[in-house]
Amino acid sequence: MEKRELTCIGCPLGCLITAAMEGGTVVEITGYTCQRGRDYAAKEVTNPTRIVTSTVRVEGGACPVVSVRTKADIPKEKIFACMKEINALVAAAPVKPGDILLEDTAGTGVAVIATKAVAKRPHSE
């Protein structure tokens, strides 16, 4: 039996969790203090995922970029593919939090959404 020590990233408490593995499957998880932690550990040792946060260029906005995130966590190995798509995106002001800027990032089925409002740039005449 293989044991893997993890620090939960679910919340800032950072619980120390141990996952016992046998032949690629999880047999026991200990040390978590909430369901979220248990889920994290189970996923981390089999299919680790992360939420990706970044910014997207905004056209005609009061600020040049808007902060964005993936609506849910995506497989870790897709992070850079997701970033490549995010970097190519351009949003048109105004942007509202929750606006979907990309429906499906890197084939994960997860959307990229804005996390902040960006107003239109005031006319400068």
């Binding site: 993890l6 620090t7 990233i9 800032p12 946060t53 995130r69």
Partner: protein
């Protein structure tokens, strides 16, 4: 002179949560003064996730978290003045502020809530030797440039200090195409949260070098490289352990300092360790009706705790202006005992304290299998075991009022930590 029930200095997470809670607790006119060009404070540049699990049972990014509180403030009709700098607060609670629309103006406050946040420790305070080229940023400045203004501070990065902003920026810079070569930490333990080590450094294969510091900075115009060296127990570089790193950017994440220039000049009593005001159970300073919360009081690692603390300050300020906060009677001091660096609040009026009063503190080093103890005049009233306690992570105990009341003539409450 225009008068307000409560004037809140700072429109970041602390100021917003205080305003919302004060309004809900029945305060009348509230005004938030914010020096930046938008409300929300530093949360606006913290675009990563991990906020709000306590407050909203949901994982939010910084802007989303700020957005929730902004919406609440808006709904309650709380006015905010942005781009407004508070220049002075008199001990009579007359606030002098300035912006480009109104000019300089004075307002009278029934109560003041200090929520100015903190600033980053700069290179000068560390006395890092070397040249002074472009390319040296505090991590928060770099974070603002990248996340809000859309600029890259550089391409090849070394980070000194393992504070959370530094760890978060290691990941951000990597995702934006920079090469982060190393994070160096002078202390034998990480300054930030372990979860950030996992998801910001380990995920990207960025090494964390504990007991290391920058001993030289090269480059006359733009940064060209830095030298790291291992330090001994007293923090002095060990000769022969130097390693050169070529880089065009050095980010410093070496500590946060509460911004209390206004507090000091109005005569608020300060704590030497937290660099924030000394407050009582109501988060009130030595000046009645002047409250403090958030990072101006002591540096937090979690915004959720800031919001919770600020809400208490807001409620108490509302009680103060409504005449519902009894006058403070003799205070019991809360003392940082063995292994504890500081406690907030620093004193308690038992007659005014809540059933369960959160007392927050930090320890002075890593403790494994730690035992936290609370003693009222020597008598153990509470203890708590923890697998591990680190200086980088704020601790909390809930102090029960009945235990404090049980001890007649109580003079001091001592919080301590021991190992084993």
């Amino acid at each position: 002179m225009r008068a307000y029930d409560i004037v809140i200095v700072g429109g970041g997470p602390a100021g917003l949560a205080a305003a919302v809670a004060a309004k809900k607790a029945g305060a009348g006119d509230i005004l938030i003064l914010e020096r930046d060009r938008e409300m929300g404070g530093i949360l606006n540049q913290c675009i990563h996730n991990g906020f709000g699990l306590h407050t909203f049972q949901e994982e939010l990014t910084g802007p989303e978290y700020a957005g929730r509180f902004l919406a609440m403030a808006r709904q309650l009709g709380i006015p905010c003045e942005i781009d407004t700098m508070v220049l002075e607060i008199g001990s009579d609670k007359v606030v002098t502020a300035m912006n480009h629309k109104k000019g300089m103006f004075r307002i009278r406050a029934g109560a003041v809530i200090l929520a100015m946040g903190c600033r980053e420790r700069a290179r000068g305070a560390l006395q890092i030797p070397g040249y002074r080229p472009a390319g040296i940023f505090s991590a928060g400045t770099a974070q603002r440039l990248v996340n809000m203004e859309g600029y890259m501070p550089g391409r090849e990065v070394v980070i000194l200090g393992s504070g959370d902003i530094g760890l978060i920026m290691a990941r951000r810079m990597t995702l934006e195409g920079a090469k982060v070569k190393v994070v160096a930490e002078r202390l034998p333990y990480c300054g930030g949260l372990q979860r950030n080590v996992v998801q910001c450094l380990e995920d990207y294969g960025i090494p964390l070098k504990l007991c290391h510091t920058v001993v030289d900075i090269r480059g006359r115009e733009r940064l060209e490289g830095v030298t790291l060296a291992r330090v001994d127990e007293s923090g002095r570089p060990i000769p022969g352990t130097e390693e050169d790193y070529a880089c065009d950017t050095l980010l410093l994440s070496v500590g946060l300092i509460p911004e209390n220039e206004l507090s000091r000049s109005m005569g608020v009593e300060m704590d030497r360790i937290t660099a924030g005001p000394v407050v009582n159970e109501s988060l009130e300073t030595n000046i009645p009706g002047v409250f403090a919360c958030g990072n101006v009081l002591h540096v937090h690692d979690l915004v959720d705790y800031v919001s919770e603390e600020a809400a208490r300050a807001g409620e108490n300020a509302a009680r103060f202006v409504r005449g519902l906060l009894p006058e403070c009677e003799g205070a019991v001091s809360v003392v940082a005992g063995r292994g504890v660096r500081y406690c907030v609040p620093g004193r308690i009026d038992i007659t005014r304290m809540a059933e369960r009063l959160p007392v927050r503190f930090r320890v002075d080093r890593i403790y494994k299998e730690a035992l936290l103890t609370v003693r009222c005049d020597g008598k153990l009233v509470l203890h708590k075991r923890k697998k591990m306690i680190k200086p980088g992570e704020m601790e909390e105990i809930l102090l029960p009022r009945e235990k404090c009341l049980a001890q007649s003539g109580l003079r001091s409450i001592v919080i301590a930590v021991e190992e084993g």
